[in-house]
Amino acid sequence: MRSGVAAGHRGYFHEAVLYRSEQDLLDVAVPFLRGGVEAGEPTIVALGDGNAALVRDAMPEAVPALSFLGGDVYARPATAIKSYRRLLADHVAAGARQIRIIGEVPPTALGSTWDWWARYESAINYAYDDYPVWSMCAYDAMNTRGAVLDDVIRTHPRTATPDGHVANDRYTPPPRFLGERRPVEVDPIQLQPPALALTDPSPGAARRAIHDLDPGLAPDDLDGLLIAVSEVVTNGLRHGRPPVRVRYWAAPDRIVVTVHDGGSGPTDPFAGLLPAASGGGGLGLWLSHQLCNHVALDHSGDGFRVRLTAGNPHTPR
């Protein structure tokens, strides 16, 4: 039997917390966490350092019973989904009847890379629904831009407040939300002509161009981009509609690559965030989401565009 407001619910009970002050956050978080501890449920805190410290100070007696995850869990959306699914499966295998989690994406996720975190918040309604998990996703309503908060409301079925739990009537089911065209912020270096543009390159030629442009990225970033570009170009050649156009931009701290074809892109709305069950290029896109520091998908009127960023994707707004 699940405890608390999620009692009787099957699968994922996904709530947003839009707090306006530290006290506001604590008024929701502390009873939530305390309830989990008292019910003997695995109770996990995946907040950033500041808010995690706030929680520790507010309920020192419960700290030994809480699991604190480091911020690394939110390094990339696809990685977070994989890590959480493994964690949830382990708890269920160990007999947990419910797992409680309060978490927050890092502040950098609310900037130029928000589009893939918006997709994450939507996709997890499906990705975690195999497990009896009740989670709260905390957002600072005072310091988060409106477009982000709008996506938060549309991707969380409920909002938790100090006064109770309310259904979000603007909640949009994942297939519909993920099927919409997401606004992708232009990286400022894209305002310059590309350093290189290739049409219908072989995957090998698309990879070699990256070596030529490398400004000295960290080896893992460079290797990840090589795999991602190879996979996305392969998808374009194999599943897209020609021509496949690849454009490259380089700055001292990053390489940005766009791959465009005239097709409509993957039909699977979860493509990139979850491994594809079969064919269609979904596994390559899923790997790319784990190996690049940002992947943006753009289903524009003139085809399908994937933008891959290696290095620092957090461009100033």
Partner: protein
């Protein structure tokens, strides 16, 4: 000349070289065969050229080499028609071919020579898919034999007479070739280094060729491990990692990719395939 790569000259290598020469015109091939066999003569090896046919001008070019005719007379050099070495229009037995070349190498050593060096135009032997399959298998078996025996070979194929796919199937089984067609190589290596060496790049352009090459190499695991010396493997995509995993699984083995490529390691981790492990080759 290194142990793997694209070469512009057939000469300049060692006593174990195994080269694939996909030629556009026979005149250009002639220069390579002459250089390759001259080097063998100078090194004291028994040299042999298996000519494409009776009109093959390379035979005449060889006899213009200083000492070639004299070497022919004392049994250190020969020019034979290819159909005396290989039965035309038949599918060779790869194991029998290796036994023949091993015996010829032993005979050369017994005669006091430094080993055997053969150049052969094998175009006529790879006209059908069955012939290509058998020949590609033979190329790997020969490659394995050559690793530590004083036998060197130049295998010439006429590009104009064969499809690109046929040429690629043959090139990829050689450590050295005059072309990068096929992008990757699966070749023999010293047993201490692994069951075979993988080099070059593996991606969608090799997705048909790579599983074929693996099957033809018919590698055997040692103590449940199928070790690939992949130090020269510059790129591997996830399809190819899964190909290696499947290949190892069918042999009840764990594949070990010894490589300095972090990409292979990332992919194996992300895919979570338990029949492939990646070890750092430093």
């Amino acid at each position: 000349m290194g142990s793997y790569g694209v070469v512009e000259e057939a000469s300049g290598g060692g006593r174990h070289d195994h080269l694939c020469w996909a030629y556009e015109d026979r005149a250009a091939l002639a220069g390579q065969v002459v250089g390759f066999l001259s080097e063998g003569l100078a090194a004291g090896q028994r040299v042999c050229y298996a000519a494409a046919d009776a009109t093959d001008p390379i035979a005449r070019r060889l006899r213009e080499i200083d000492g070639f005719t004299e070497a022919e007379e004392r049994g250190a050099a020969s020019v034979v028609p290819a159909d005396s070495v290989y039965e035309p229009d038949t599918v060779i037995d790869p194991y029998e071919q290796v036994r023949i070349y091993a015996a010829l190498t032993d005979a050369a050593l017994a005669a006091g020579l430094a080993g055997l060096r053969v150049a052969a135009d094998a175009t006529a032997l790879v006209r059908t898919p069955a012939q290509v399959d058998a020949f590609a298998r033979c190329e790997h078996l020969i490659d394995r034999y050559m690793v530590d025996r004083p036998y060197a070979a130049l295998c010439a194929y006429d590009r104009a007479a064969l499809t690109d796919f046929t040429v690629a199937q043959l090139v990829c089984m050689h450590p050295l070739a005059n072309t990068d067609v096929g992008l990757f190589r699966l070749h023999a290596c010293p047993p201490a280094d692994g069951a075979a060496a993988l080099a070059g790049e593996l991606d969608m352009t090799t997705e048909v060729l790579f599983p074929l090459a693996l099957d033809r190499a018919d590698l055997r695991p040692t103590a449940g491990r199928l070790v690939f010396d992949a130090r020269e493997l510059r790129f591997i995509d996830y399809h190819s990692v899964l190909d290696v995993a499947d290949y190892a699984r069918r042999r009840d083995a764990t594949a070990v990719l010894r490589t300095s490529s972090r990409g292979a390691s990332h992919l194996a981790d992300l895919l979570g395939v338990d029949s492939v492990i990646v070890e750092s080759a430093g």
